[in-house]
């Protein structure tokens, strides 16, 4: 359902993603791990074109996102089509990025209402059922600053789900949380995975990776150095760099 081919990304002259190839099946849960600065966030952000790419291609359900061929040249697709493509891709950020001026419910209904996806009634019903799903049915009228970090992140998940995305991207969804709040967010994500959502998760939570991932992708210095089932990656990785990285994370947590 996602097909990334020969993706190159530069920040100025800094080559951040180097010829990435990655193919993700429908319903798959892929966890991306790797040292800081290896390009994990950047790769994720390219997948909904929050970051422009310099060459290569990203296809989502057989449609390109961001760049398209036009008269034999690569160029950015019209904003309208880009917005349409982004509706298919939900994203959850490390810092939640909830809208502080809107109630929890309005955070969730803003996009479906603004884009005319639902009428007010349906949108509100959807919001309440999504909140129930992430265990926050009673917080609909609260404002983001009245929530704990774990609650905020669960609202952010509900907000992304309201657009009925076909794939969900998570960029270190629990890194900004106090340790005791991590579990509730991971539980919501597990729930989602069990329902068959296609998920791409950047995380340092190796427990989650071991339990939920169909595939673990290891990045280093802008490249995918290896990928495999959690069983293989965690017990018998092929790359020395993977071993070193895993050793560091696992002894620190």
């Amino acid at each position: 359902m996602i097909e990334i081919t020969n993706l190159d990304k530069y920040y100025g002259s800094h080559h951040v993603l180097k010829g990435i190839n990655l193919s993700i099946q429908k319903g798959e849960v892929v966890v991306i791990i790797g040292p800081s600065g290896s390009g994990k966030s950047t790769l994720l952000r390219c997948m909904n074109y929050l970051e422009p790419i310099q060459s290569g291609q990203i296809m989502i359900e057989n449609e390109p996102i961001g760049m398209i061929e036009h008269n034999g040249k690569q160029r950015e697709m019209p904003q309208k089509n880009l917005n349409k493509m982004r509706e298919k891709v939900g994203m959850v950020f490390q810092n939640f990025n909830l809208f502080p001026h809107l109630s929890v419910r309005d955070n969730i209904t803003l996009s479906p209402l603004t884009l005319g996806k639902m009428n007010k009634n349906t949108a509100n019903k959807t919001a309440y059922s999504l909140l129930a799903k992430v265990g926050l049915a009673d917080r609909a009228t609260a404002f983001p600053d009245q929530l704990s970090g774990g609650q905020k992140q669960r609202v952010a998940i509900a907000r992304a789900l309201a657009m009925k995305p076909h794939v969900m991207l998570f960029d270190e969804p629990t890194s900004a949380l106090d340790p005791e709040l991590i579990g509730e967010v991971l539980d919501a994500m597990k729930e989602l995975a069990k329902e068959g959502m296609t998920m791409i998760v950047v995380t340092h939570e190796m427990g989650f990776a071991k339990e939920m991932a169909d595939r673990v992708v290891v990045m280093d210095q802008g490249q995918i150095i290896e990928a495999g089932t959690p069983g293989v990656i965690f017990t018998n990785p092929a790359q020395e760099r993977t071993k070193v990285f895993l050793h560091k994370v696992l002894t620190h947590s």
């Binding site: 929050l50 509706e87 809208f99 502080p100 001026h101 803003l110 603004t114 884009l115 404002f143 657009m163």
Partner: protein
Amino acid sequence: MALDFGILWQDGNLPLLLQGLWVTIRMTFLALILSCFIGLVIGLGSMSKVKWISGISATYLAWFRGTPLLVQLMLLYYGLAISLHIDFSASVAGVLGLGMYSGAYVSEIVRGAIQSIDRGQMEAGRSLGLSHWQTMFKVILPQAIRRMLPPLANEFIALTKNSSLLSVITVAELMRAANTIVADNYKYFEIYLTIAIFYFVVNFVISTLIKILERKLNVEGVRS
């Protein structure tokens, strides 16, 4: 020194001043609306990725901030009329002049407030499928407006004070009313002190209104 505030009650002076005050309030209010509109357009324009739009916005800002308001008013009222035969009435020229001048400052307030909003807000909006402008109007601006209020209060107060310059292009506002009266009776201190108090009261009302608005917006939800 013998002060004689009784002069206010003679020769219809007080009604004349009150009339002037009303003109000042009206002109200032209209100019204020114009300056908000211009400020929003130029402020958003200055952040545009389209070169000619940001270019025009930057030029606008540089010109109206870099030249004296008095000179701008003279150009607008006398200059255009005499050389280009664009003949505005004094009040129209006054509102335009004040509004365009103040709009330059408001545009900086708008830009500053928008840029102070975390980048993640725009990214969150875009990732939900909203367009740039939908996110701007539904997510960024509602938050930015709260941050604009304190500097806007300053700008509106400056605008009120600057409206006294309209006296030189013959607008019958408060300053001009006072000038007319003192030309007759030489009671400079009494008359100018009176209009100073009028200006003060107007500005006090403006800053109080904005404080109330700030508090109201805060109660409605945002503490960030």
